[in-house]
Symmetry: C2
Subunit: 334 residues, 2 copies
DNA sequence: CTGTTAGCGCATTCAC
DNA sequence: GTGAATGCGCTAACAG
């Protein structure tokens, strides 16, 4: 592997001249620059990124840390992050936090291999986040609330989203509404549940614990939870799945028992993943501004890096997406 | 940010002693090692990854380069790569190649910021791959065929997969089989189509071009292609979607026209993405060994890096997954 | 405009 | 065991 030294030698210039030429510094004449470039090409020279980063003590890249790189949910988030990074000339990498505090993701955090990071990974502890955030290393968290000067929060209004969802069901005449929840320790899940309860309370409905199952935010979990729900007979008229993935599993369970959605039972989801539109009969859901969340997060990092004074806390609003999975109940016996 | 120098000073030892202690070199006594470790903790010392990599001229990380980080298809592949990396003490990052040859992914390749890479990204040119592969920088490609000593190939047997799919349909009595294709320049798509044609030929069936639509491997594309197919009346009895994502869109299009799968029309997909099981009525499909492909890829990289002599070419076989989207045609008028 | 030089932070000889 | 010294490849100040 050729180094800049070789290039300089071949071009017959000083090492620094080669460096300047390669970095497009105006102090170098066109002629010599060209000579250096030619030499570089001839030697198939590629700069060593580490050496360069080491010297400049900045990496020009942002990391997005996800607990699982492959969830459908992340698609838009990634795009948002990526777009803003790219348009600011920054690079972007995604790291999985599988392995928790031992993972590659953490290595990147603690060894400062990136200039800033966005975290949406339940298996990374709060302490870890707190211990690595610094002035020149801002962190944006999407899934928790932390007290730290250089940790920034971007969250979507999950409480309100949960409220809208439950409220919609109620307005359609539903009174018996089950809640299939995400992991009980999930911040997002708690918020959605809070909104759900609030809507119920406002309509003087009570949440029955027999209609509360944990589905862990996965298809499989949603499937199992729904099966349990069905098994205990005495079905509710509607189910609120705390995310769309669980709703997908739920629809399958329902279908296996020959229940038709929405004829026999109404369902509503949360997230509006790409697939919800395609899930028969079209899943009514609450849309999260995922792209915006990603874009805003990077934006904040850049501002902090640029020395700007930025707020630590942002909340994005959700949007109601009506499709065909909720039926209006005819008789509202009030 | 504390450096190793600070740690040495606080511990009252030489810089090298601190380095040895931190790296667990046996020449250091337990006592001094402990002192160094304490100092490091006290200063919240974290080594600078770049400096370390620079010195050791290896990064201990493997990159997976994907054209889109978020497809459902990639989930298993990522797990495969990740598992093998982790169990070999390597780190792993995923890069998107959005931006093609200007992307972050390419930066990592050319600046040698990783020790090896796995590529599944149609928007990276063959030339790029060829120009960066070297003995100490092996590349594994999953989506093309290249002639280079240090480029390794892992492919799944798409031809056979296509053959199995079409054959299954034929055995169930279908003779009029549409093919919804991926991007026409896709290597995988071509292979699948070849298998499909082969099965048809063996049964003396002819592929009718009016039943061939391009769906570009996306849900949306599958939806549109299927709509076109339906619009031209005179429906085939079965559709072979060149991947599951398109089948998802297809089911939606069919459903909108009140066609029931499989009662009115049979469909079969390709890939066996996680969702296929959940897509009513359960999508019959061809499973790709994605996890295995990822695992094998990393494995190869490690072998090359270790100086082993490895073959350049591997082919993994596909598996037929029967669910409920194909109906047996009663009358086989032969 | 060009060349010399001093590190970036760390790992690693090689004497002691 | 320890510590001084060297250099990984590059950038950027500084002096010419």
């Amino acid at each position: 592997m050729a180094t800049i030294k070789d290039v300089a030698k071949l071009a017959g210039v000083a090492l620094s001249t080669a460096s300047y030429a390669l970095n497009d510094n105006p102090r170098i004449s066109e002629a010599t620059k060209q000579r250096v470039l030619d030499a570089a090409k001839a030697l198939n020279y590629q700069k060593n990124g580490f050496a360069s980063d080491l010297k400049r003590t900045k990496t020009n890249t942002i990391a997005l840390i996800l607990s699982d790189l492959s969830g459908p949910y992340y698609s838009d988030l990634i795009r948002g992050v990526q777009d803003v990074c790219t348009s600011n000339g920054y690079d972007f990498i995604a790291c999985s936090s599988i392995g928790g505090d031992q993972s590659t993701a953490i290595k990147f955090l603690k060894e400062k291999r990136v200039d800033g990071a966005i975290i949406l990974a339940h298996n990374i502890s709060d302490e870890t986040c707190i211990s690595y955030a610094r002035k020149d290393f801002p962190l944006v968290v999407l899934d928790r609330k932390l007290q730290h000067d250089f940790i920034y929060h971007v969250e979507v209004d999950n409480v309100h989203g949960g409220y809208i969802a439950a409220n919609h069901l109620i307005e359609k005449g539903h009174k018996d509404i089950a809640y299939i929840s995400g992991p009980t320790n999930s911040f997002d899940n708690k918020q959605r549940f809070k909104g759900y309860q609030q809507a119920l309370r406002e309509h003087e409905l009570v949440h029955q614990s027999k209609w509360n199952f944990v589905g862990n935010f996965t298809k499989e979990g949603g499937y199992r939870a729904t099966k349990l729900l069905v098994a205990q007979r005495n079905l509710p008229t509607a189910i609120f799945f705390a995310n769309d993935e669980m709703a997908i599993g739920g629809v399958r369970a329902l279908q296996e028992q020959k229940y038709n959605v929405p004829r026999d039972i109404s369902i509503i989801g949360f997230d509006d993943i790409e697939l919800s539109e395609y899930l028969p009969p079209g899943l009514t859901t609450i849309k999260q501004p995922k792209y915006e969340a990603g874009a805003l997060s990077v934006h904040l990092i850049f501002q902090v890096l640029a020395g700007g004074d930025v707020d630590n806390y942002y909340r994005l609003s959700t949007e109601f997406i009506e499709r065909n999975s909720v039926k209006k109940l005819a008789s509202k016996n009030e």
